[in-house]
Amino acid sequence: MQDSPAPIFKRGPSPAVRLAFFSLLSLVMLVADARFRYGENVRAIVSVALYPLQQAAAMPGMLLSRAGEFFVTQASLVSENNKLRREALDSAARMLRLQALETENAQLHRLLDAPLVPDRKSRVATVLYEPRDPFTRRIIIDQGLTTDVSAGQAVIDHLGVVGQITRVFPLVSEVSLITDKSQSVPVQDVRSGLRAVTFGLGHDGALELRFIPVNSDIQIGDVLVTSGIDGTYPPGLPVAVVANIERNAAFAFARITCTPTAGLANYRHVVVLSPPDVLPPDPTKTKVETPVETRTTRKRTPAP
């Protein structure tokens, strides 16, 4: 490179020029992606090309776990079967009660003329892998555009909320876990009814409740469930348990950390909930008119 005299053979632009070109191209793409989220189509195409390689990479692990399943002893199968049967009986009894409660609830809602929260359809997805990106908390699942998955759908497991779908590719889609730094979930304290929002901290096993006043009614061990006001997560799904509260009178807000209840990225299967049929109106469109009206009515009322 350094000592090349006048070239005898034509070799195209010099490596330094090529490096400058590709670096500039990469930088432009970086800014386009980070700022404007351009290039999603290219991403989708590349992800389809990657799919067979991903399957090949996941194969050894899958075969190992299959082989492990094959050598399960009879005794452990019998005991697991018994346990599952007992659990099924237990949940069947609860299901019957739940059905009765659901009809009763629907009737009461009709009596009160309040809209009922519609039941959501769900779809089981297999977790393909966790991307090797230490800056985000995401998982890749095997459902995509071909199975009618769309961005914004909630993802749960049997213990609670896992996250929501943030990118959809033709064959796979990307789920941002609730522990991701960009993710927040509106929640409600089951014990006190306090409404709050959990924020991901960017590392596993911890969420933060921000902007909770020091004197608010929240205790260690409180269960937080989704409040459903965002329209993304249906209400009543467990999200986290309050793990630690630091109340310092010097600050306006308490420092509250919680541990998520769902086995984030621990399980092979998750459930993708379909989006609700009726979404709440877009706040960016309604905001312009409503505050003006409320202000005028407020000003008018004390005058007469």
Binding site: P15, R18, F22, S47, L50, P134, E174, G202
Partner: protein, 177 residues
């Protein structure tokens, strides 16, 4: 560029078979697959970036066969696979390969231990660049363990050199006791 085509195949006094393009492609595809293997827990931190180390290998030992376009395309692949920013790996791999090509004569002359040191510094530099890009985009520093994968990759360098050369050995070598 005074070296002949044969000259690129002399390493450590050993004359190797000429490298076929198919072989380079195969190793790069295997590297991508190895990068995609799902790793649980702490293993994910130390699991080396095989694409980066394969690029360094070919950059050092076949500097004219692997161009920056290859590094760039592989970088885009890894960007999509890792769900990172578009262009992050692409930029890092381009600079990495350029560094490897730039230093290839020096690295070829060194014994293995010095080669490992060079590779470690290049891989760490590549990771540092990715770290800076993500910090600029609003990410958090993920902790010092972030750099562990480069160190394991550098430690694997002697094994990799031996492995990738196995199919390039001449037949007569196997007769020598």
């Amino acid at each position: 560029m005074s070296r002949s085509a044969l000259g690129d195949n002399i390493h450590g006094g050993e004359i190797l078979l000429p490298v076929r393009t198919g072989y380079i492609v195969l190793t790069l595809v295997v590297a991508v697959v190895l990068d995609l293997v799902p790793m649980p827990g702490w293993l994910a931190w130390v699991w080396p970036d095989f694409v980066a180390i394969a690029l360094v290998y070919w950059g050092v030992f076949q500097p004219r066969r692997v161009g920056l376009l290859v590094a760039w395309v592989l970088g885009l692949l890894m960007d999509v696979a890792d769900a990172s920013l578009f262009g992050q790996h692409a930029l890092a791999y381009c600079l990495l390969l350029y560094g490897a090509i730039f230093l290839h004569r020096r690295i070829q002359m060194f014994p293995l231990a010095y080669q490992v040191a060079h590779v470690a510094v290049m891989l760490l530099g590549q990771q540092l660049l990715q770290l800076l890009l993500r910090l600029a985009a609003g990410g958090d520093f993920p902790g010092i363990t972030y750099f562990a994968s480069s160190l394991t990759a550098a430690a694997l360098w002697p094994v990799l050199v031996a492995l990738l050369r196995l199919p390039l050995r001449r037949r007569s070598d196997s007769d020598v006791p």
